[in-house]
Symmetry: C2
Subunit: 182 residues, 2 copies
């Protein structure tokens, strides 16, 4: 049910989707849905939490690990973010389109901002340890790096030709080592 | 009027915006709007053409220029795409969110696909001349490169601290040379 709800939210937009639409799509009655969840907003919260919990785990693991350099942890967090995004693409798509019209969305934006802040801190730490080139401001690096990762939701198709690990490797290689042959 | 229409389309969604909404936002009557444009769809077409014409010009210039290497032309097209995106951010945002629900949107998607195909060809040409690393498939390079460029619409703010030229330089440097200090 949650998977169908997320698909509908992404296709029609959350605001334009009703519990009636979801019931019709599932071929059940509205009361069958209300037997499981209290409201449309609860479905949204469950979906957003799915994406946020996964991403929070990735970021917390990287931030908490002080045995390796910030550069290694940043590279790992990019790689694992790609994997989460691919494995939870519908939920992450919903998360990236949240506008903040409801309390659930406001809360999700708050958690997303926490993630962004942690990632920006990690980029600054990698720059401070001298691993990153100095001619691009760390805040730009952070935006562009995760902009590239997040852009996957626009075109990645699970039935496509690139395995998640290949994709994760391509993103980190391009970002850190660059496209030019050396 | 077009600028206000684009802002409204981006904020509320094209489908959810009416000529009445636009009239209210502008503080004019609906008939004043119909004096200038025949329909809401015409406003959409004008806005999408604005973005598409600019991007087509950038891509055509790069494709037509056979005096320089594919790598140089690709780098230039990335740089100039960033500048177009920043200068026409609302129209490009609208373009990137087009779903294909109306003939105008279908036509815009067709033009967007032409651009994507030209860019993919240019990436393949740069790979074929040996300028790019061989361990990332050209179709992935093309998706990630323009995914990073397009992600600017999500966070770039004209009043921010980075000038368009700085941004364009940061994108090309990160993509081609990589983030690592050498």
């Amino acid at each position: 049910m949650l998977r169908t709800a997320v698909t509908l939210f992404n296709r029609k937009g959350y605001d334009a989707t009703s519990i009636g639409d979801l019931a019709a799509e599932l071929g059940v009655t509205k009361s069958a849905i209300y037997h499981h969840v209290a409201s449309k907003e609860e479905l949204l919260r469950l979906a957003l939490d799915d994406a946020l919990d996964e991403l929070t785990q990735v970021v917390s693991a990287a931030v908490g690990d002080d045995g390796t350099s910030a550069h290694d942890r940043l590279r790992e967090v990019v790689r694992r973010s790609v994997e989460v995004l691919v494995a939870h693409q519908p939920a992450v798509t919903l998360l990236l389109r949240v506008r903040g019209n409801t309390p659930v969305e406001v809360e999700a934006l708050k958690r997303r901002r926490w993630l962004d802040d942690q990632l920006a801190d990690l980029v600054r730490a990698a720059a401070a340890e001298g691993a990153l080139r100095a001619d691009i401001a760390p805040d730009l690096v952070s935006r562009l790096l995760f902009g590239m990762v997040n852009s996957l939701i626009e075109w990645y198709r699970p039935q496509g030709t690139h395995a998640p690990a290949t994709l994760a490797e391509a993103v980190t290689t391009m970002a850190f080592d660059g496209l030019l042959r050396r």
